[in-house]
Amino acid sequence: MDLGLSETQELLKNSARDFLENESPEQLVRDMEEDEAGYSPELWSKMAEQGWQGLLIPEEHGGAGFDFLDLCVLIEEFGRALVPGPFMSTVLGGAVPLMEIGSDEQKAEFLPRIASGDVIFSLALTEPSARFDEEGVECTASVNGNEVTFNGTKLFVPDANVADYLIVAGRTDKGVTLGIVATDQPGVEVTQLQTIARDKQAEVKLNGATGQLLGNDGDGWDALKPVVNHYTVAECAYLVGLAQMDFEISVDYAKERVQFGRPIGSFQAIQHKCADMVTDVDGSRFIMYKAAWSLATDQPDADTQMSVNMAKAWCSEATRRVVAHGQQIHGGIGFTKDYKIQLYFRRQKRAELAFGDADYHRELVAQQLGI
């Protein structure tokens, strides 16, 4: 039993922090809010050189062969630096499903290209019903040999504007079925949404879009469950890093901002907010890592499922409290576009909503408690 980082993780964390402070500064984050693509291809390549897109991918497929706990250490740093771009989409929405259920040929075809930064993936799961469960998949799929054709609308697909491939979930008469769909075909129509976090999410209309069948006809939902679990915990890791930074910026501000002749951080009204912030950041971190550990070490299914739902239920709400306090501590300057704290506030909401907010996951916890 231990809560510390391993030496490798410590190294990964420190090198990622240094790298991202230089390569993903606030200005880049702001520029990408207004950029059509929403990411920097130059940074994307440099990240691939660091081995990050392939961190989780086995060495035989050109990756680094690290485990999911290590990845969460990295993603925490991504949250801290608010790194813009399709990293989570590609790794959690592309590499993970391919590793889980891809055929040997599919792994050989796609994983090395993900690791090298040559392709961008995303997961096209949610639809206008905005549900995260099996019933939410209404897009139709029809299987023909190793091919699958989709008709329907996907909504809130992250980074679809730049993705080369989408992992699409559709429904055949056998059930949910997955396919690897190239976006450069006439049957794929991407319409970008303007979002609170100014990230890139899109409506994707599939009109006879065709791709490789991923897994088997009808077993798509079982295959997606671990994918959704990993992605959900990765969003928690992102939230933890984001909240940690929001908290640090706010404490620094409280030490500098002078009113009534003294730093506002000397007032208990502010001090107690800061104390609650660190309690929520730390609490989120450990509950997230417990879920990540559970997934990485293949703990019993029931324990893992519970820990994933607990993590997202807690992190969603606790980090919302943190960024709300962050805004309040900053007062007027905090709600200007020029000041950085609002960048965290808006992005927290995106990740809070991703794969279900606190209410959604608390309901799942309640069900598992048998109430």
């Binding site: 231990d2 510390g4 391993s6 502010i270 660190v278």
Partner: protein
């Protein structure tokens, strides 16, 4: 990061669990303890009921065989010299079985403090008698005018030859009515800055001039006392550590090793029983008709208990890696005590009108009125050992480096 036991840890856990199954007297095997304040073992050893007294003694003897009355003390002083991780596992297993700890404050606070600061004579006199269960200790820190601002305490100890003569009053001396000895902070140098004129002193509670008067609390129980000192003559040799340095002696050791994880496990057990009760015949009657609107609130309590477990685990993990916890212990106390109150509140909400019932007996008392009693009994938890406000101050100033007000 690893939430699972190493093979050695698993073996040790099994050893503790088996020991408890074999040796824990029936009296302690089930049942709920409310409020976390009343130390049932301490009360039992002075009980008029012979079964209670025998149970207390048998349990103490069983633990003593293993050195587990004071598992965290070094072996040379009769402890088991367990590593912090072993203590963590030991405390978890004890809490899972709801096994009453033995020795109270003598084991948790007085002993560790004396081991660090006491003279050889003091150690030889007091430590064995803590371990044998012969002497129970109470703590005299707070005063009517020195609560959160403890260092402003005014109980005066004036030198007279080889003695100190003590006058003043302590309050909230938990368990003093069952105790044999008292350790206290007293002012030995009134003109020094307030933290620098305090000494840590021990005394027999039957010393002439000491009067212990129980305080009846809002739940009509008597967990606390007022303790009065009127010309109480105590040898100056009873000062532990350096004279006038008692503030630092008293603050050396915090009992976070035990309380954190035991509370998390106790709350989880309590919540599980609350949920199970709803599925029983009696529970179906006592749960309010519209209880399902509280499902998410119950789930939130479960999340909080999970978070609390990790906070306790973090402290142990830090110590195990050679780090000294700073604000982390305050986070633990703050979050734990507030979780405790929320848990009791959720229980009372589930029972609707039945949450009125205070009596433990009869068909109208849900779970023997445990939650209603804990709703009242948990009120002090956010106040004693540093209130929630003090904990937040400590986190902000000592932990985050915010300027003091």
């Amino acid at each position: 990061m690893d939430w699972s036991d190493s093979p050695e840890q698993a073996t040790f856990r099994e050893e503790v669990a088996e020991f408890i199954v074999e040796r824990l007297p029936g009296r302690y095997q089930s049942g709920s303890r409310e409020g976390g304040i009343v130390q049932s073992w301490q009360a039992d050893r002075k009980s008029v009921d012979t079964e209670a007294r025998d149970s207390a003694m048998n349990w103490a003897d069983a633990l003593a065989e293993k050195g587990w009355i004071a598992p965290h003390w070094p072996e040379e002083y009769g402890g088991a010299g367990l590593t912090v991780m072993e203590q963590f596992i030991y405390n978890q297993e004890m809490a899972k079985a709801a096994a009453s700890p033995v020795g109270g404050m003598g084991v948790s606070l007085l002993g560790p403090t004396m081991i660090v600061h006491g003279s050889d004579e003091q150690k030889a006199e007091h430590l064995p008698r803590v371990l044998s269960g012969e002497v129970a200790w109470a703590q005299g820190y707070s005063e009517p005018s020195a609560g959160s601002d403890l260092a402003s305490l005014q109980t005066r100890a004036i030198r007279d030859g080889d003695d100190l003569v003590i006058n003043g009053q302590k309050i909230w001396t938990s368990g003093a009515q069952y105790a044999d000895w008292l350790f206290a902070l007293v002012r030995t140098e009134p003109d020094a800055p307030k933290h620098r004129g305090i000494s840590f002193i021990v005394m027999d509670i039957k010393t002439p001039g000491i009067t212990v008067r129980p305080i009846v609390d809002m739940g009509w129980q008597e967990p606390f006392n007022e303790t009065f000192f009127e010309d109480v003559r105590v040898p100056a040799a009873n000062i532990v550590g350096e004279e006038n340095r008692g503030w630092y002696v008293g603050m050396t050791l915090l009992d976070f090793e035990r309380s954190g994880i035991s509370d998390a496990i106790q709350y989880e057990r309590t919540l599980t029983r609350l949920i199970d009760y709803g599925k029983s015949e009696a529970g179906a009657k006592h749960y309010r008709q519209d209880w399902k609107i509280l499902r998410h609130e119950v789930a939130e309590r479960y999340l909080e208990i999970g978070v609390l477990f990790n906070f306790a685990f973090r402290i142990v993990s830090m110590q195990n890696n050679g780090m000294v916890p700073n604000y982390e212990a305050s986070v633990n106390k703050l979050f734990g005590s507030e979780t405790h109150q929320r848990l009791s509140r959720t229980g009372t909400k589930l029972f609707g009108l039945y949450a009125n019932v205070w009596q433990r007996e009869g068909e109208h008392a849900p779970m023997n009125a445990e939650f209603t009693r804990d709703y009242v009994g948990s009120v002090p938890h956010t106040i004693f050992s540093g209130s929630s406000e003090i904990q937040r101050n400590v986190i902000a100033t000592r932990g985050l480096g915010l300027p003091r007000g």
